[in-house]
Symmetry: C2
Subunit: 353 residues, 2 copies
């Protein structure tokens, strides 16, 4: 079987990580890359993603050119967070008959940002016979898909709480700015009002994904964003936080069902939480019949986890019916080790032992 | 929309629990029950399952009669553990155009017990336009589906260990006998040799399900069953264990890939483990890039969890293409709360908020 040809959109931290994974994965072939930064156009992809060797694949600045040159079956989009920013590239790819995996946060549940635009993407994908999906660690997995999966053992669900405490120290300036890291608390609040501090992007997506997975109605979502004010000195390669300054953003969302809190998602993001004795980790608690409680520390790493999900979902996207999907529409996600071609065999074909 | 009519096969502990859940679930209707015990035939189902009131539904001893009387769209089979014992009832149901959910352990991955029989069930289901699936807490969820789901965040998987420490105190004589509870250690070993002590049924199913989900080859599976010899007095309504006698069975299975242990499943089952300071719980560790570790205590309860899974999977079974499926073939499982009809809506239909 010929390997699946994959085009990567974006050559930043995430696009580079995804490209490196594709090089290692049996059954998949890194077919090319598209990057917007004009100074990168023509650079060899191997050098751009830190391989230290040439791959013979120039980075294309223009998406149409990249598609023509790399003839991909599927593209992974790692260029943006918002549906509005993602839609143009996705439409171009779909019109060229290319399946799309996007790690744009709002693509995890696209209709939350714009139902008409999601509907348009769905119709376009159906018309061109390809599938489009959003995925990522959060939204797309820890605070939604995993919660839905665990709920399957519950006959009744009274309420859900999921918490993800992570460390922003590995992240670059764009992410740090979006969480207000390094600001004074007043500047953090001004940034929230102005929109330069956003907190987490994805709570509406996760809450609607859980609610739709469980088949329940959420009446409203309340969100709060509070500065995590540091009591100690914290430093990363990109930012220094003095005592009294902001180390990150505690962002919480509550989805209401039948007038009461039903889904509570808590995601405090900060640099170096361990310096104040805060352990990172993921925790899901479903109160119900029976209840379920699972947790792990440290947190599933966001960058590496998102890159893996984007690659691992490829066989399922290619096997899905044409259209715009979410992770809940596809079969149970899985690592793709590639010994046997990547997708689960039929039950009836299971080997005896 | 008319509710989905459900027939329950089996009126023991599991069948009764499933029947009670069906009564509470919007969108589903308990349409009848079939029970083999002749003394129960004609008994009202409401009394048999401990409701304390009549439901106007007699228990049928004959499956054909039960199907004719209850006209079900789907049946839940809670009568046995082995594929060979399950297949006859499933064939009858399929030939009558009834979808089937089975909690028989070997139905979680039917081809492990008999690939030809699984293939026959698959062809029969396709011919009659219905779907058949096996589910349950274990096999079917904690030590396989959940492991596969968590692996989706891994680019590479070096090895997997999953442990389920549970308490058999809630279980009746059949389960206790199968784990050798109350025996002397020598009698336990004789029971293993004779087949009256089985340990856990489902390790081959779970290991093949994980391997097929991840797309890797397992060369062989080694299993060990050791008596858990009690140092203290333990008692349940059905059994008393004196010091020096067997409190349960520590059953472990190791699946080998490329000559090395790849999947290790550890499932010590005993009555009252807390009396020797052993905490129950579920734990999954995937060593890989990145690694994942999640755990919870106490364990997800087996009986209640299996009953919930059997009911919650119904909408997905009805929506699946005809054939024999595993939990890995269907979309992400979920609790079915029923506010909106039970199955996830399309991504493009997600409400804005």
């Amino acid at each position: 079987v010929a390997p699946i040809r994959v085009l990567v959109l974006g050559t930043g931290q995430m696009g580079s990580a995804i490209a490196r994974l594709l090089l290692d994965k049996p059954g998949l072939q890194l077919a090319g890359a598209c990057g917007k930064r004009p100074e990168r156009a023509g650079t060899d992809l191997g050098l751009a993603i830190g391989l230290g060797r040439h791959l013979g694949l120039p980075i294309h600045a223009d998406l149409e050119t990249a598609v023509s040159a790399s003839r991909p079956q599927v593209a992974i989009q790692a260029t943006c967070s918002r549906l509005l920013d993602a839609a143009g590239e996705i439409e171009t790819l779909v019109q060229r008959g290319v399946h799309v995996v996007s790690i744009a946060e709002e693509m995890a549940y696209p209709a939350c940002a714009s139902a008409p635009l999601a509907e348009r993407l769905h119709r376009l994908a159906v018309a061109h016979g390809v599938s489009v999906i959003g995925t990522g660690i959060n939204p797309g997995f820890v605070l939604d898909v995993l919660v839905v999966t665990l709920s399957a053992v519950c006959a009744e669900v009274d309420s859900i709480t999921a918490t993800r405490v992570n460390d922003l120290a590995p992240y670059g300036p764009t992410v740090l700015r979006s969480q207000g890291v390094g600001l004074m608390p007043e500047a953090f609040r001004e940034g929230l009002a102005r929109g330069s501090v956003t907190g987490h992007i994805g709570f509406e997506q996760s809450i609607h994904m859980i609610a739709d997975g469980l088949g329940c109605e959420i009446e409203r979502i309340d969100q709060t964003r509070e500065p995590i004010v540091s009591r100690v000195h914290r430093a990363t390669p990109y930012v220094t936080v003095e005592p009294g300054h902001v180390a990150g953003c505690r962002h919480t969302a509550v989805g209401y069902r039948r007038g009461a809190p039903f889904i509570t998602l808590d995601h405090p993001q900060q640099v170096c939480p361990e310096l104040e004795g805060v352990a990172t980790g993921d925790a899901i608690e479903i109160r119900g019949r029976p209840g379920v409680r699972l947790s792990g520390s440290p947190e599933i790493p966001g960058g590496a986890g998102t890159a893996a999900l984007a690659v691992n979902v490829i066989p399922r996207v290619l096997a899905a019916p044409p259209g715009l999907h979410t992770m809940l529409d596809l079969p149970v996600p899985a690592a793709m080790l590639g010994d046997t071609g990547g997708v689960g065999r039929r039950a009836s074909a299971c080997a005896t032992s």
